[in-house]
Symmetry: C2
Subunit: 257 residues, 2 copies
């Protein structure tokens, strides 16, 4: 499995993904799940992927090939991520790549009992638009983050969801979003063996049309180590500060049932 989270804020976008791919615990590998497409000054797009790695890697290849062919090669789609006029057209390119792959591979996969399983997140900003964020499903259809939704997750999303629900708002700063994503990832890593370091972090500032920061975070990253230990400590401290229930006092041996 994998865990990717992408956050859409008033001031930009934050993307964080782990890099562990596994087929059973004895076969764990590290692969990048984040791909950046940028034309500085014009657009920056970030694609995160979860699901069958053979499918998601090939989908990214199809998208890259389409850009290289530039609409000139016969049969290549004319629209691609680097010339799509809007983010929703770009999301459609991603969906189309999945659909092409489905036509090509799905029945062969089915013969081996493998589901066609791929989820992608596409976010970024194209000149003339605000930053936008999309979640693209295996079937190639997609949804967009609205004012009420400030984030999308794919993969092992549940462990890390509560902290995001509690602290993230559209108005959160990029720094807050990075912190929140790291805490969410930490909770996931602690509870699920199939999600692991290193992490890929991409930060995009609004109206810059370029990546502000793209870094790999490993166990030796001082900031992440600090966040992990401080957060654990703070949680245990906060937990110990909660008052005890009075339900086990002497008079409480009666039952309400």
């Amino acid at each position: 499995m994998t865990y990717c989270v992408a956050m859409l804020l008033d001031t930009g976008l934050v993307f964080l993904s782990d890099s562990r791919t596994n087929a059973g615990v004895d076969q764990i590998s590290t692969f990048r799940k984040t791909t950046v497409f940028q034309k500085p000054g014009d657009r920056v797009l970030v694609l995160q992927s979860s699901g069958n790695l053979a499918i998601t890697q090939t989908a990214v290849s199809i998208l890259r090939d389409a850009i290289e062919a530039g609409g000139s090669r016969e049969g290549a789609p004319k629209m691609h991520l680097m010339n799509a006029p809007t983010m929703s057209e770009a999301a459609r390119c991603v969906g189309d790549a999945l659909r092409e792959l489905h036509r090509r591979d799905a029945s062969a996969l089915k013969d081996f009992g493998v589901d066609f399983n791929a989820s992608l997140i596409l976010g970024g900003q194209i000149k003339g638009e605000s930053p936008r964020l999309f979640s693209v499903y295996s079937a190639g259809n997609f949804i967009e983050a609205t004012a009420d939704t400030s984030y999308f997750q794919i993969g092992e999303s549940k462990y890390g969801k509560p902290i995001i629900d509690r602290v993230l708002r559209r108005t959160s700063s990029l720094n807050e979003a990075v912190k929140c994503a790291l805490v969410s990832m930490d909770s996931t890593i602690r509870s699920n063996l199939s999600v692991g370091l290193p992490l890929d972090l991409v930060i995009i500032k609004r109206d810059r049309y370029a990546v502000a920061r793209h870094m790999s975070i490993d166990s030796d990253n001082d900031y992440f180590r600090g966040v992990r230990s401080r957060w654990s400590e703070a949680l245990r401290e906060a937990f110990s500060q909660l008052p005890d229930p009075g339900w086990l006092s002497a008079v409480a041996r009666d039952t309400t049932d």
Copy 2:
């Protein structure tokens, strides 16, 4: 869906379950998922259930019927929850009930595309033994909590797992376990619509062979309301105390990728 958690401690056991059952969001009902079997001074057993309600309710009926028949009715099993000499024999009774139900219902369910899906947690103490905790699968097989495992969860378990992993130990007090279970439940309720109030809480003290406390916790429960709001506040406070990453300073516009 549902969420149940059961914790095994040096000093006893804590069980918490929600009571929402749903078949799509427009059809949400409240059902008890916790059943207590006790013979004060001899044994106390608590059963929590998750999965297809028609299956788990009938499994509980089979277990009750076996007790009422008391081994006297023809065809009724001689061993039941109230006379099993050990907790592992009791867990086997629960597994056998699921297997009987599987033989009876599984193929009819399959005709309607319904999986035979039921998970149960059985915990408690029988005189002569320490408190023990079991997780029983649909197939009727089961595992027991060992020294390394102080809890089991069934149903929507992932949202509420990180906080348990961080704070619960075998040596935690019953009060700490109750707090931890309520915080874990709160995280789950906030992130998942299909888990909801009221909650069923059962506390068992070691070597008492009776329920110490069995109560229903609804949104008007003062302690639970306090824990929810204090915990939210404490988390947001702890989060805001985490230092910001320095990755967005002026010099940080280079990328490492």
